[in-house]
Structures are given as structure tokens and as C-alpha cells.
């Protein structure tokens, strides 16, 4: 059974502009499941709505409509429900330089959530729990790390502290919003490997939000591709990344650096983008799509293209099998 279910989540922002108000649907009916011991990668560019989605899932932003269920139960909106929810669902943010308080020690960052979520603990119990957390994220020796302040740590080490803090309440779902994009290349893989190990060892359900197709492929079981607030393609990671179907996923794929891969530095042809009006009911990609057809002014449902791989594109309307 799925640990975490997201159903038809929508976030609408009201924009006040010259000439009146308009609405922006940053997240437009997104549904997916996360299950224990498995990672789903959510791939999209800036403006795709992936961070808005993450903020709703972390309850930092109320959704306009839709619901989130944990273990099959819908989550209430009250303060107590939120605290219970945060015990189950924790988030790791993009920037470990901003997400840790520069005045507080590592020990302080970790003992606060422990005290909040685990009731009364004696100071020796607390200390032991903090040390154990640091060991789980491989920051050693713990007794030395505890007294450090963020500025004494490298970006990768800070992100480990942020992950340890997220683990403190004993969550079953970990939301990671671009957890390595602010870090030096040399430590990115270590952080991703760490999350991968935690996923397996602690049976965590992980949502890995990224713009990087290569790590999305290697560090997740399934991939969702988001464009303008909608999931346009989903399936097993190798399927989606190696055999993309949606024209948008194909564009992303051909733009991703792949040294030693085929022809370097070619740019996929893309028709000049025309504006799609607000409140448009059609395919969000059709203004940039080389295959746009009249039918694209209607919103495409998800069509199966084989092996649990789905894509929201009218090109695949009649396909039930392979179709490229």
C-alpha cells in the first residue's frame, strides 16, 4: 500500500496586475503516490510548479484544492493534525546555508525536533539520540560534530545535518527539494547516495525534486515530469529518461549534457513560443511543441504507452503498445 497519496492537488495564485486581476495555476491537478523504500523523482524546470508542490506537501503553503493522504487517511488542517503530519513527513531544503541557523550548534538543530516530537527525554537520552542521528548521516565523530556551528562545516556536511534534522521526528516520508543543486559537484553524489541508503535501510518513501535528469534516473525508481503545473509524463525511471515520449521530456532529454554521448552541442529545434492565454484548457506545451495539432487545444488525458509508462500527449491517443 502506498504510504503517501497526493490527489488532484491544485494551487492557484491571484496576481494583481495593471488592468485587473488574473489567476495563475502554479500546480494544476497533480496526483501521485509514494511508497515505503522507494524514491520518486519529480523533474521540471524553474516555473514548472515543482517547488510550489513541495511547499504544499510540506504544509508550508495551503493547497487551493485536492488532498494528501497518509496511510490512506486524509490529513486534517488543525494545528495538532499538522504536528502529527510533520512527524510523518519531513523536508530537506535546497540551500543548507540558509536552512540552518548560523547561531545554533548542530546539537541544537537536532535536539529541538527530538524534544518536540518524542515527548520528555532526559538529557543523556537526548544526547544519545542526537549522536545516533549523526551516525546515521555519517557525520563522525558525533561528539565532535555536536558542538560545531554551521559556518564550521562545508556545504555537504551542512546538508547532512539538515537530513539528520529531517530524520529526527522519525518520518516515513522525506521530501527533498533540489537537495544537491547548491552543493559542490564533488559532494553531490555522496548526499544522493546517503539518501538512497536511508531510503533502503529505514524504509523511507522519498520524493526527490530536481532539474537534473541524470541523477533522477540513477537515484529513483519512478520519474514524474512536470510542465507548467501538470505532470506530463510518468513511469519507471529508465523508461522515462531513456525512452521519453512526451515532446517536452524529449526536449529536456536532448538538452541535458551527456559528455561522451552523441553529437555535442546541438540544440533541439523549437518553434517560437506563442503565449497560451490564462485559463487555457489545452495542452500546456502546445505553444512550444513541434507536433502541435488542432486536438491539442483540449487537455490530453494520460495515455498508456506500455509498462506502466503514461504520457499526457495526444500523439499517443490510439497507442496501447509501443509507439515512438
Amino acid at each position: 500500500m502506498s504510504t503517501f497519496e497526493v490527489r488532484d492537488l491544485v494551487k492557484e495564485f491571484r496576481l494583481h496586475e495593471r488592468g485587473g486581476r488574473r489567476r495563475l495555476r502554479a500546480v494544476d491537478g497533480v496526483s501521485f503516490d509514494l511508497s515505503a523504500g522507494s524514491t520518486v523523482a519529480l523533474v521540471g524546470e524553474s516555473g514548472s510548479g515543482k517547488s510550489t508542490l513541495a511547499r504544499m506537501l510540506a504544509r508550508l503553503l495551503p493547497p487551493s484544492s485536492g488532498e494528501v493522504r497518509v496511510d490512506g487517511r486524509a490529513v486534517g488542517t488543525g494545528r495538532r493534525a499538522t504536528r502529527g503530519y510533520r512527524g510523518d513527513v519531513q523536508m530537506v531544503f535546497q540551500d543548507p546555508f540558509a536552512s540552518l541557523n548560523p547561531f545554533h550548534t548542530v546539537g541544537h538543530h537536532l535536539s529541538r525536533p527530538l524534544r518536540l516530537h518524542s515527548g520528555r527525554l532526559s538529557s543523556s537520552e537526548l544526547n544519545e539520540r542526537v549522536e545516533r542521528l549523526l551516525e546515521r548521516v555519517a557525520l563522525v565523530p558525533p561528539e565532535r560534530v555536536i558542538g560545531k556551528q554551521p559556518h564550521e562545516l562545508s556545504g555537504g556536511q551542512r546538508q547532512r545535518v539538515a537530513i539528520a534534522r529531517a530524520l529526527a521526528p522519525g518520518p516515513r516520508v522525506l521530501l527533498a527539494d533540489e537537495p544537491v543543486s547548491m552543493l559542490d559537484v564533488s559532494v553531490r553524489l555522496d548526499i544522493l547516495n546517503l539518501m538512497d541508503r536511508l531510503k533502503a535501510e529505514e524504509d523511507l518513501a522519498v520524493l526527490y525534486i530536481t532539474h537534473d535528469l541524470a541523477t533522477a534516473r540513477h537515484f529513483s525508481e519512478r520519474v514524474l515530469v512536470m510542465y507548467r503545473g501538470q505532470v506530463v509524463e510518468r513511469g519507471d525511471s529508465d523508461e522515462v529518461i531513456l525512452r521519453p515520449r512526451h515532446p517536452y521530456t524529449r526536449l529536456l532529454r536532448s538538452a541535458a549534457p551527456d559528455p561522451g554521448g552523441s553529437d555535442p552541442l546541438t540544440v533541439p529545434a523549437e518553434p517560437a513560443s506563442t503565449e497560451v492565454p490564462d485559463g487555457d484548457q489545452g495542452c500546456p506545451f502546445r505553444a512550444r511543441c513541434p507536433h502541435a495539432m488542432p486536438v491539442c487545444s483540449r487537455r490530453p488525458p494520460e495515455f498508456p504507452v506500455g509498462g506502466g509508462h503514461l504520457t499526457s500527449c495526444w500523439l499517443y491517443e490510439s497507442s496501447t503498445e509501443e509507439n515512438t
Binding site: 555519517a138 565532535r144 555537504g156 559542490d184 559537484v185 564533488s186 553524489l189 552541442l265
Partner: protein, 365 residues
């Protein structure tokens, strides 16, 4: 194995940096750049890679004479070679000479450049300002024509000349910045992380644009980034910096196929291939040394799986690799490649290109 880049026969330098050192003045001065030797060939794209804090941006600022206190050059020289065979000692320029030289011969696109445009001036005003400052004799019509031409060159509709920066997308602003850098037809264009803040598709377009402009106009590019996968695609040659020094240098193909320095190996192993198998993916645990320290050892030693006694005792010189398959193509600063210093032949696994981190955990000292 012949991995010499084919352009090497007609390679001639346009800029050479010798023994360049830069300090940031502080209670304990920070030695950010430590005796860098580097040459940029006419018309080549040289990739400069390294982690944050390795000195790559400081190096670019120093060469362009853009350092501001507390940073200052404490040693070394930079020579610019004009097409007619004359030379300019860049550090000897001052006042009016420097103003004329800068932006004319060396131009720079800064990190986060798309936010470097003045928000209250139109694109036209900002581009024309450069022409007015450097070529005051040009009349208004000529200036307008050149600006329109430039925008077209970088793939922006010239009608955008009268737009304000906020009316342009990030990619378009970045193209305007590139246009501004190219306005006086420089011989060397420094680009400091020019695509980092852009989306992949836009990033790709900008890179292709740079490669196309280089082919068309023949300027050299020093492309600075920590993203090795980008560098491998765009550069003719690559220089890897670590803790203020160049630790390896060579043709891109050679570096990709037979990296010599363990740090280069680590960097190359630290990003997964999009389409390849995920074998042996790991980063380089540990952190760069404190740059306030005088280093009389290899700066990478404490993170290096191939460390031996000599690595803690003396700093390896950056030298042509004696008898490696790489031959004359490149230089490396690593004791392990010199048996007389290392005490034994280079480890098989190093030659095979393996990088196994010494420590799986982050050890805090």
C-alpha cells in the same frame, strides 16, 4: 595512443599567466591563487574547473585587473599577445591605457550576469554606453546599427533594444550580457559560470551560441564552471584547479579518457552519465584545505586515496607527464606519476582511472 587535439599544430598563445598569486588581506592573509601558470590559445575554448573556493573566479578577476581590496596580486605576470606579434604586460597598464585595453582585448561575462544589467535603463542605453565610452567618435546612427547587429548576432530580436531588463527572460538577459562583452570584438572572453542559473534548455542554447560565435568571430573563451559535464562538451582544453593551483591541464579528450590527477578522477566520477550504467558513483568526501595556510604538501593529500609519505612532505610541481600515454598533451601536479618522488610506480588502479574515497563518512576534525 594519440590524444593530441588536432588544432594543436596551429596553437599559439593569446594570453599567458605566469606564477600568478593573489592574496586576500586579512589577519591571516588568504592565499586564494598560488602561483598559477596557464596559457590561453588564440581562438580556443579553455575550460577552467574546480570546486567553489579553488580560486578560479579570483584568477579571472586578477587577469582582467578587476580585483578590489582586500584582494591583491602578490606575484606573477600576465602577458597579452596581439595578432601583430606585439605583447602587452597586462599588470603594467594603468589609467587610460588600462581603460582602453580592458573590454577591448579582454572582456568578461560575470557570474549571475543576467542580474548585472541596470534595471532602469533600456538594453539600447546600456549597449550604446559601451560604444560611447570606448569609441566616442561613433555617431548615433552607427551606434544604433551596431547594437541591433549585436543583438541579432546573439540571437535576440533587435526590437528588444528598447526593452527594459525585466521585460526579458533570464536567457535573453544572459544573451544581452554576452552581446555587451562582444561589442568591442575582444580577443579573449572570460565567462564565469555563465549558465548556472539558467534552465537546461536555455543553458544548452547559450552554450551552442557561444560555440557558434567563437567559430564565427575567432575569439578565445575561458569558460569557468564547476560543472565538468558542461566543460567536457564545450572546451578544447581543460585546466583543473584545486586550492589555488592548477593541478592538471590538457586537451579535453585526453582529460576525459585518461585523467591523471586523482582529483580530476574524482571530479569525473562524481557526476553520473545520463545514459550510461551507474557504476561506482561517489563524490570526494572531505573539504578543501584552509587557504590561509602555507602549503608545503599536496593540498589534495588528505582526500586522496593514493596518498603516500611524500604527499605530506612536499608540494608536487605542475610538470609535463614524463611517459604517460598522454605524452606531451598536458601537465599534472601529482607525485604518484613520478616514481622518483613517489618511490614506486604509479598504482595500477590510478592508471585505470579508479577513485575510491578513503572514507565513506564525513570526518570532522
Amino acid at each position: 595512443m594519440n590524444t593530441q587535439p588536432t588544432f594543436s599544430e596551429r596553437w599559439s598563445p593569446v594570453l599567458t599567466v605566469r606564477g600568478l598569486s593573489v592574496d586576500y588581506e586579512a589577519e591571516r592573509p588568504v592565499h586564494a591563487v598560488r602561483g598559477v601558470d596557464l596559457a590561453v590559445g588564440r581562438g580556443e575554448i579553455l575550460g577552467l574547473a574546480g570546486e567553489s573556493g579553488c580560486g578560479k573566479s579570483t584568477l579571472a578577476y586578477a587577469v582582467n585587473r578587476l580585483l578590489r581590496p582586500p584582494a591583491h596580486v602578490v606575484g606573477g605576470e600576465v602577458v597579452f599577445y596581439h595578432a601583430d606579434g606585439t605583447e602587452t604586460d597586462v599588470f603594467a597598464l594603468d589609467g587610460e591605457q588600462l581603460r582602453r585595453f580592458r573590454w577591448n582585448r579582454l572582456a568578461m561575462v560575470f557570474q549571475g550576469a543576467m542580474n548585472a544589467l541596470n534595471p532602469v535603463l533600456t538594453v539600447r542605453a546600456q549597449l550604446e554606453d559601451v560604444i560611447r565610452a570606448h569609441e566616442p567618435a561613433t555617431d548615433r546612427r552607427e551606434r544604433g546599427r551596431r547594437c541591433a547587429e549585436l543583438l541579432e548576432l546573439v540571437g535576440v530580436d533587435p526590437r528588444r533594444l528598447d526593452s527594459y531588463p525585466h521585460e526579458l527572460s533570464g536567457g535573453m538577459r544572459q544573451r544581452v550580457m554576452i552581446a555587451m562583452a562582444l561589442i568591442l570584438r575582444p580577443d579573449v572572453l572570460f565567462m564565469d559560470e555563465p549558465t548556472t542559473a539558467l534552465d537546461v534548455v536555455v543553458q544548452r542554447e547559450i552554450l551552442a551560441e557561444i560555440a557558434r560565435l567563437r567559430a564565427e568571430l575567432g575569439f578565445a573563451v575561458v569558460f569557468i564552471t564547476h560543472d565538468m559535464s558542461l566543460l567536457l562538451e564545450i572546451s578544447d582544453r581543460i585546466a583543473i584547479m584545486y586550492a589555488g593551483r592548477v593541478v592538471e591541464e590538457g586537451g579535453t579528450e585526453r582529460v576525459r579518457r585518461t585523467p591523471l590527477h586523482p582529483y580530476t578522477l574524482g571530479l569525473l566520477r562524481s557526476f553520473p552519465s545520463l545514459t550510461g550504467e551507474p557504476t561506482g558513483l561517489h563524490g570526494i568526501p572531505g573539504r578543501t584545505p584552509d587557504l590561509a595556510e602555507e602549503l608545503d604538501r599536496c593540498a589534495f593529500a588528505e582526500r586522496c586515496p593514493y596518498r603516500r609519505e611524500v604527499c605530506d612532505g612536499e608540494q608536487p610541481p605542475l610538470v609535463a607527464h614524463p611517459d604517460s600515454p598522454a605524452g606531451a598533451d598536458g601537465r599534472v601536479a601529482c607525485h604518484a606519476h613520478d616514481p622518483s618522488r613517489y618511490g614506486t610506480a604509479p598504482p595500477e588502479s590510478l592508471l585505470r582511472g579508479e577513485f575510491r574515497p578513503i572514507e565513506e563518512s564525513e570526518v570532522i576534525r
